[in-house]
Structures are given as structure tokens and as C-alpha cells.
């Protein structure tokens, strides 16, 4: 669980990891190694204020170099919100996230549809399953050129789609995508804020953290 200056939902991601039964390990933006973690979650927030472009500065943080290298060796990486933006800026995922079509920050309970349950982070969901998680972002509009989008669609790399309304004008209602090997997933909504009914709109987000534990289990055992 990486913390950049300006990360906000890092503690919440750590809580979700705990709820899922794993041990969260705090990584600092200028750490020189990944402390042997089994998976990395790049949290939401406004790293470095998102001043130039969401994720544009964080992408150059030392720890990101390590994450990119490890991802290429198959380390599961989850980018949530700002984390998704950072993974795109870092080139781990294609496309970019722009200012919401409505021009405002949008915080709402959003229905999501699982389009690909074959990734390291979604194997606990049924394909086509829908659940409600918070989406809360200023720059959540996913864009990529035509060919990239077609490729994502054809290869089934659109992992989540917005259902019942598109909150930010994303192409094809895309809410989350993954790398060709399905180990790196990025999404704008916040599964870590849907881990119990008391503080979130549902508890269904926990499945993403459970999924990665399943995905890692064979390796571990």
C-alpha cells in the first residue's frame, strides 16, 4: 500500500486489506525497495496535489519505478482513482483520465458491472455481476484513441463498466481496465470504501481484495 505526499485513501485501502484477511504493508513514495510485498495497491487521493495533471508527478516517484518493473514480472497491482491515473501516466495501463464531463468533482454511490472476472483482482465476482461502490473524483473521464479502446474491448480488458448512468463521460462507460495479463487493474471507483454497510453503500468492494489473495494463494502455497 503506497503512500505519496497527498495520498488520501491509503489508510482506507489498508483497512480493506485487513478486512480481507491480509497484512497491509506501508510503502513510502521514495522507498528503495518493495519490502517483499505480494501485491501493490496504489491508493486514491491527490498525490502532489495533482497540480500538473492527476498522477503526472507521482508517476516519477522512486517507488513507481520499482512497481513498474515488478508489474512486468507479474506482481499484482491495483490502482484506485488517483492510483489508476498514476498507472496510466506511468504507462502500465493505456489511455488517460480527464476532467469529468460535468466539470465538477462527483461523489456518488455508483453501480458497477463486472465485465471481466478473470483478473487477479476480480476472480471472486461473477461475470456480469453488479454492485454499488462510491465513485469520487474530479478527473475520472477515461479516454483513449479509438484503436486502443477497440483493443481493450476485443481483448476483454475492460474490467468494470458504469451501470445506471455514467458519472464522468468515460468512453464506453469504462470504469476500470487491466493489463494484457490481467495482473494490473486500474479503476476510478473506490472498492475500499465499500467494505461494510456502516461506512459504505455496500460491502461488495471487499471482493477485489479477496480476489488477489486467491490469485496469490497457489504461488504462496
Amino acid at each position: 500500500m503506497i503512500t505519496f505526499p497527498g495520498s488520501l485513501d491509503d489508510q482506507d485501502a489498508a483497512r480493506a486489506v485487513r478486512y480481507a484477511g491480509a497484512e497491509p504493508v506501508a510503502l513510502w513514495h521514495d522507498d528503495a525497495d518493495l519490502h517483499g510485498v505480494a501485491a501493490v495497491s496504489v491508493p486514491g487521493g491527490f498525490s502532489y496535489g495533482d497540480y500538473l495533471r492527476a498522477g503526472a508527478i507521482a508517476r516519477f516517484a522512486p517507488v513507481m519505478g520499482l512497481v513498474v518493473a515488478a508489474a512486468e514480472r507479474g506482481l499484482p497491482v491495483l490502482g484506485i482513482c488517483n492510483g489508476f491515473q498514476i498507472l496510466c501516466e506511468a504507462g502500465l495501463l493505456p489511455g488517460a483520465l480527464l476532467r469529468n464531463a460535468g466539470r465538477h468533482f462527483v461523489c456518488r454511490d455508483q453501480r458497477l458491472r463486472v465485465e471481466n472476472n478473470g483478473t487477479a483482482w476480480t476472480n471472486q465476482y461473477w461475470a456480469g455481476a453488479e454492485f454499488v461502490v462510491p465513485v469520487k473524483s474530479m478527473d475520472g473521464r477515461y479516454v483513449a484513441d479509438r484503436s486502443t479502446v477497440d483493443e481493450l474491448e476485443q481483448q476483454g480488458r475492460v474490467v468494470f463498466r458504469y451501470a445506471g448512468g455514467n458519472p464522468n463521460g468515460s468512453k464506453n462507460d469504462i470504469a476500470g481496465i487491466c493489463s494484457p495479463n490481467g495482473r494490473v487493474v486500474g479503476l476510478m471507483p473506490h472498492p475500499e470504501h465499500a467494505i461494510d454497510e456502516l461506512t459504505g453503500p455496500s460491502a461488495d468492494g471487499i471482493g477485489m481484495f479477496g480476489s488477489v489473495l486467491d490469485a496469490l494463494a497457489p504461488a504462496a502455497g
Partner: protein, 764 residues
């Protein structure tokens, strides 16, 4: 102007040039105030001293017009009320012991004038400022709220101001990672040209980690950390709180500068984490945030609260702009700065933490023997003053107080307003009210605020109160609500202030939390107007007496005068914030009915009288403001609160919503739409339908109770003598709100009316 060679006005120079003319009036100092400064110093003040006194003796910092009235809060606070209070009025923010070893601190402050000049930055820095106040108490900020007032909803300028203010609060608060858990949006034409942007922050710490701002321990170092100091809002404080917006900057030849600051939420976020780490490592003896009046305020307050004097080397302050004069540096309102007192042996560790967070930190002076605050500039003394005379012994005014001549006419103006009587008219009125700017859904605003970050938000908009979990193990949490109705206060300031208190108290209680403390932001017109001063005095007395009656103390607050356009004052607007405690947030009561409440019995608690003075109905339908506001009975409010809190603890209720603006009709509309579940209600056949639906009598709430719990609940009400009437039943099947004999509203129709108003006004 030249970057170098700023000739500085030293103490020595002041002594040798006793009678050169000084621009004290331009700085907002009256002749007698200026005379008193000369008397205190035994000479003319230097330019830097003059800048310092002028900002610190401004209305905004010195409370010179309100002090004599605010004392009444202290006089009416009993030891019993004080029991749970760890810090009260006078500190950066009040602190309350909420149990399990937790202390909670909260405060509301105004940033009205800057938000009119530059809505986005004005509102953003309002959030930044209140958050630093909470941080300066040693607490981790946990959430914010934003009570807002704007001119008429349709007015062109409102279309400029509101979106900017909301985006500013969102931009800053969201970037800090603080959930926004509530607030207000009120439209009234009296706020045209003078919006009210109040901001509340709540924070928590372990009881023993409380940090009060003081500088003790001779030899301890004074460290300034955070953002660099620039030419922001120079002279801002004295000017912002006066009736003009542009600043004079301390007698130098520099062109006028905007008295608006630009916020840097990222720097503040890092500053927060940095401070919390410094607290955790015990590296801080005393700490003060730099808000209005910047270093003038921080140094003089730290010094006068401590046991020694202080020496500051001003030339060490890291600057953002070239050629700044000592006066400018002392009064700069650059944001995102803090000032700490640190033991010499801890300075290295302190600097290490700042380095980790990439926070600029500079040792600028130290605590000294004696009782003077001495500021030097490249070795020459530019300030040498007794700090108390700057920070606490400013002027105090007994402003003339006089009941406005037209007060009787306003109260006597009980025009016979045409009322809806047929079912069709009532039906139409329900929809019209639900769609009116003050009652419609706030979603267009609140959707721009992150309410989830930190993962502890249990209730947020559109609930009656915001609620956050403070202790993840025990589930202990706090609830907050801010309320204020300027129309009520205009009609009767004393009762109006108590009605604001009563509503906030009720909002907290319906959420299941026990109200324990009060903060307030008193937004009024010019203190030089005896009529306004009367409104102020009455409101303060009403609020203080009300708190005494409810047995909960006012722990802090803020006064904002000169809220007027031309010479017309705004509606007198005390905004009251009430803090409540709940042992286990899992026991909270939601505001809306939902599926799980299907078949639960709806009960109406409290008594309904024919009370339409200052009502939303009179405002929306007739544009009328006159008569007397609803009667307040705090004993009944307390009884109602006791019942709701007990019922929540025993899990007797599935939903509760208080009745306020718009009366029963609006409360039912909201409860149905919030939980997206309908209900069927029957009005009392022996009473007037219009009065039952739209009267704004205080001390009422509607609750949903599982059939099995009804006996226990009504028993509870009986014990506390809270009148109960069976109103109807939650009805999940039909998706309608049915008011028997009046109308049946499909929820979709209600939602369309309730949801479309703000988007239509301010864009999709």
C-alpha cells in the same frame, strides 16, 4: 518598487522622529486607539508595530465590539456544564471529553467577504483556516461542514458566487482528505452582495495529547514552518472585517494588493501529516496556526499566553516575494503556515520530521526572559512591545444598543396570507415547497464533496446530522449539525437564536447522538448600527440562556460583523453548531425510510400549533416576513432528545427525521426520497390540514418504529411527557407518499420536483 534598500523604521528611528505623521486611519485605527498605542509604548509606534497593532486591534481579531456581550457565555456556563470541557472560549477551538480517552475539538468560522471577491479561493482558504485551528489544538482533523448563505437563487450574481464557493470548498476539502459531512445552503435576497461562507472543522485526539497555544520555557526555539511568506492579504484582517475590500499594506509605497489569498491544499495536507507526526513524537511545547494577522497574531498570542517574552529575527522568515518590509512580513496572511515552540534539544528531531514531509521549517527566534516581544530586522529592533497589549488588551467598546424602530411593525405584521384549502391546492403547495430553493435537494452542491474519505463517515448529507466514527475499536463517534434561520432571528433575535440552537440540537438527537457542546458563528451587520448591536446582544443572550437551559456549553465560536451591502445589513444570522456523542455508531438512526422499514409505524412526536411567522411557506408563496417565529420550549426539546437518544440505544426506531423548515409535509417528502421508500399517513381530522402540513412548530420529529417496539417506545415517550400521535405506516410496495384525503404522490413526481431545482439554476 526596488527590490533592495527598503528603509526600515526602527525603534531607534521612532524615538528620534516622534512626530512624523502615520497612516493609522488608513489602517483602520481610530485616533484614540492610535493615541493609546503611543501611550503604551511611550513613543510613536514603528511602522511594523503600527501594522501589528492595527491588525490585532481590528474588529476581526480583537472582538472589540462583541467582547462585552460574549462574556455572557462564560457567565451562564455552570461548573456542571463545564465538566466535560477540556478547553473553551479563548483557545483556538473548544475541546470536549467524549469518553474512551478521546477528546474532540470543533469550531466554525466565517470567510464571508473574501468569498464574495474571489468565490473559489475565498471559500477554499476558509476551509484551510479552520482546519489549521483544529490542528493547532493537537488534534487530527476528521471532517468539515459548510453552512452557506447566498442571495436570491435566481440572481445573476448568485450564479457567479455559488458555483465558485462550492467548487472552492470541494477543491480544498477533498484535496485535504477530509469528508464533508454536512452544512447548509440558504438563499435570501439579503445576502446579495454579501454571501455567508462559514466553515466548520471537527478533530479528535487522545485526551492527554491536548496542545494549548503557549510559549513557555526560556530558551525554547520559535520555529515557523509550512509555506513561504508572500504578499498575500496584507492588511487583510483589518480590512476584510471592515466594510471595504481592498487593502492598504502598512505604509510603504507598494501598490494596493488584493486582500485575497490563494490556497495550496496539497501543502496543507502535508503540513497536517507533518504536525501530527511532530505531536506524536512529543517535539512540540506550544503551537499556533497562522491565520488572520499572520505572524503578528501568532507571535503575540504565543508570547502573551506563555510565561516569558519572545525575540524574533524577522529577516530569517523564508519569503516568496522580493523586497518585503518588516510590516508586510508581520501582517502577511500567506496560508498553510504554523508556528511552534520547541525545546532546543528537540530542534534537530523537529527539523528531521519536516524534512521527511518536505516542509520548509525555519528557526526564527526564541522564548526570552522578561515580558517583551522583540522583533529584529538584520539586527535592528523594529518591534518592542508588551505582547499582551497586542493580543489581548486591545480596545473594548460598549457600542450603543437600541431596539430597531421597525421591530414592532415587523412583529405586528401578521398579514392574513391566503392559504391553500382544497386538496388540490394543498397538493400543489406540497410540490411547490419541495421544489423551492431553500427546501429542494442539495445534491448539486453535496455531490461535489467527498463524504467517504477516511472511511469513518456513518451519516452525511442528506441526513439531519453528519456522524463520524472516532474509535474503530469501540465504535464511539460524534454527530454534528449546523443550523440557523435568519428570518426567525430578524423577527425575534432572542428566540431566533434559541430556535437555531434547538434545531441543531434536534438534528443531532434524531441521529441517535447525545448533544454535549455548542459552537457558533455570529454573522451580523455593522456594530456601529445600534439596531444591529441590539440584534447581536439579544441573539447572544438567547443562545447563552438556551445552552444553560439545555445544559450544554458553548465551547467556542466566531463573530463576523459588517455583513452588509451598502448600508443594508444581512438578516441577522447566528449559525449554531451542536456536537453530540454516540457510544456506538452502529446504533445511529438514519433520516430516511428504507425497504427494511416496510410496515413500520410512523409516529409524530411533539405538538403542532398554528405558527407561520418567518415560515418557509410565507417566504416561498407570499414573499412575506412578519409576525413572531415559532415558540421555543427548550424543556420539550430536551425531553424529545432524551427519548430519541434512549430509543436509538435500545434499537427501538428504524428512522427519524426532525420537522423544521417546511413542516411535516417537507419532512415526509425528504424521509421518503432519501430512503426511496413510500409511506401512508393520516392527518388529524379535527385539526386544520394546512396547519398540520406546513406549520413550523419546534420540538417535533417523525419516527418509524417496528410494530413490536411501539409499546416500549410510546412508554418511553410517556415517561418523558413527549406527545405522540400515530401518523401512518411505511409502505414500500407502492412507491408513493399518500396523505389520506389530500393526495397521493408518486415518489418519482416528488423526486423530479425536489431534485431539479438546483441543476436548473446552476447547470447540470
Amino acid at each position: 518598487m526596488p527590490v533592495t534598500a527598503v528603509s526600515v523604521d526602527t525603534v531607534e528611528h521612532a524615538l528620534s522622529t516622534p512626530d512624523i505623521a502615520q497612516p493609522h486611519r488608513e489602517l483602520g485605527l481610530a485616533d484614540d486607539e492610535y493615541a493609546r498605542i503611543r501611550e503604551i509604548l511611550g513613543r510613536r509606534p514603528t511602522e511594523a508595530e503600527l501594522a501589528m497593532y492595527s491588525v490585532m486591534w481590528s474588529e476581526h481579531c480583537s472582538y472589540k465590539s462583541s467582547k462585552v456581550h460574549l462574556r455572557y457565555f462564560g457567565e451562564t456556563t455552570t461548573d456542571e456544564m463545564r465538566a466535560a470541557m477540556l478547553a473553551g472560549i479563548g483557545e483556538n477551538a473548544g475541546v470536549v471529553d467524549i469518553g474512551d480517552g478521546w477528546a474532540v475539538t470543533f469550531k466554525v468560522e466565517s470567510h464571508n467577504h473574501p468569498s464574495y471577491v474571489e468565490p473559489y479561493q475565498g471559500a477554499a482558504t476558509g476551509i484551510g483556516g479552520i482546519v489549521r485551528d483544529i490542528l493547532a489544538m493537537g488534534a487530527r482533523p476528521l471532517a468539515v461542514m459548510d453552512p452557506l448563505r447566498f442571495g436570491a437563487a435566481e440572481a445573476a450574481d448568485t450564479r457567479r458566487v455559488l458555483p465558485g464557493v462550492v467548487a472552492g470548498i470541494a477543491g480544498y476539502g477533498n484535496c485535504l482528505g477530509l469528508p464533508n459531512i454536512g452544512g447548509e445552503v440558504v438563499f435570501d435576497q439579503s445576502y446579495q452582495g454579501n454571501p455567508l461562507v462559514n466553515a466548520l472543522c471537527v478533530g479528535a485526539m487522545r485526551v492527554d495529547d491536548l496542545h494549548l497555544a503557549h510559549a513557555s520555557g526560556t530558551g525554547n526555539k520559535v520555529i515557523l514552518f509550512g509555506a513561504r511568506t508572500g504578499l498575500d492579504g496584507i492588511g487583510g484582517v483589518s480590512v476584510l472585517a471592515s466594510d471595504t475590500f481592498t487593502g492598504e499594506e502598512g505604509g510603504t509605497g507598494r501598490k494596493k494588493l488584493p486582500s485575497v489569498q490563494v490556497g495550496d491544499p496539497f501543502t496543507e495536507k502535508v503540513l497536517i501529516e507533518c504536525c501530527l507526526e511532530l505531536f506524536a513524537q512529543g517535539l512540540v511545547v506550544g503551537i499556533q496556526d497562522l491565520g488572520g494577522a499572520g505572524l503578528s497574531c501568532a507571535t503575540s498570542e504565543l508570547a502573551s499566553a506563555g510565561d516569558g517574552g519572545m525575540r524574533i529575527e524577522l529577516d530569517r522568515v523564508p519569503l516568496r516575494a522580493a523586497g518585503m518590509t518588516p510590516a508586510e512580513i508581520l501582517s502577511s496572511e500567506s496560508q498553510e503556515r504554523m508556528c511552534a515552540i520547541v525545546e532546543p534539544s528537540d530542534v534537530d528531531a523537529f527539523m528531521a520530521v519536516c524534512a521527511k514531509w518536505d516542509v520548509t521549517a525555519t528557526e526564527i527566534g526564541e522564548v526570552t526572559e522578561g515580558d517583551r516581544l522583540v522583533v529584529t530586522w538584520h539586527g535592528e529592533t523594529v518591534v518592542d512591545v508588551p505582547p499582551r497589549t497586542v493580543a489581548h488588551e486591545g480596545p473594548v467598546y460598549e457600542r450603543p444598543v437600541e431596539r430597531p424602530a421597525d421591530q414592532d411593525d415587523v412583529q405586528g405584521d401578521v398579514a392574513e396570507l391566503a392559504r391553500p384549502s382544497t386538496s388540490d391546492e394543498l397538493r400543489f403547495t406540497v410540490l411547490r415547497m419541495a421544489a423551492s430553493p431553500n427546501l429542494c435537494s442539495r445534491r448539486w452542491v453535496t455531490e461535489q464533496y467527498d463524504r467517504y474519505v477516511r472511511g469513518g463517515t456513518v451519516l452525511a448529507q442528506p441526513s439531519d446530522a453528519g456522524m463520524i466514527r472516532v474509535d474503530e475499536q469501540t465504535g464511539r463517534g460524534v454527530a454534528l449539525s449546523c443550523d440557523g434561520n435568519g428570518r426567525y432571528v430578524r423577527l425575534d433575535p432572542y428566540a431566533g437564536a434559541q430556535l437555531a440552537l434547538a434545531e441543531a440540537y434536534r438534528n443531532v438527537a434524531v441521529s441517535g447522538a447525545r448533544p454535549v457542546a455548542v459552537t457558533n458563528c455570529l454573522n451580523f451587520g455593522s456594530p456601529e448600527d445600534p439596531g444591529v448591536m441590539w440584534q447581536f446582544q439579544q441573539a447572544v443572550r438567547g443562545l447563552a440562556d438556551g445552552c444553560a437551559a439545555l445544559g450544554i456549553p458553548v465551547t467556542g465560536g466566531n463573530v463576523s460583523f459588517y455583513n452588509q451591502t451598502g448600508t443594508t445589513a444581512i438578516l441577522p444570522t447566528p449559525v449554531v453548531g451542536v456536537l453530540g456523542v454516540i457510544e456506538d455508531v452502529a446504533r445511529r438512526i438514519p433520516t430516511g425510510f428504507d425497504m427494511t422499514a416496510n410496515g413500520h409505524v410512523l409516529l409524530l412526536l411533539g405538538e403542532t400549533h398554528e405558527e407561520f411567522g418567518g415560515s418557509e411557506w410565507a417566504h416561498v408563496v407570499h414573499g412575506h416576513l412578519g409576525g413572531l417565529p415559532p415558540k421555543v420550549d427548550l424543556a420539550r426539546e430536551q425531553a424529545l432528545g432524551t427519548v430519541l437518544v434512549a430509543a436509538a440505544a435500545d434499537g427501538l426506531v428504524s428512522a427519524a427525521h426532525d420537522l423544521s423548515d417546511g413542516g411535516l409535509a417537507q419532512a415526509l417528502v425528504e424521509a421518503c426520497l432519501i430512503g426511496d421508500t413510500g409511506c401512508r399517513v393520516t392527518l388529524d381530522p379535527d385539526a386544520d390540514r394546512f396547519v398540520q402540513l406546513f406549520s413550523e412548530s419546534a420540538g417535533r420529529a417523525v419516527v418509524a418504529v417496528p410494530r413490536a417496539s411501539v409499546p416500549a417506545f410510546t412508554e418511553l415517550c410517556a415517561t418523558h411527557e413527549v406527545p405522540v400521535r400515530e401518523l401512518g405506516v411505511v409502505e414500500a410496495t407502492w412507491g408513493t407518499l399518500e396523505i389520506e384525503g389530500v393526495a397521493t404522490f408518486p415518489l418519482d413526481e416528488l423526486r423530479a420536483a425536489w431534485e431539479s431545482t438546483l441543476p436548473a439554476l446552476f447547470g447540470g
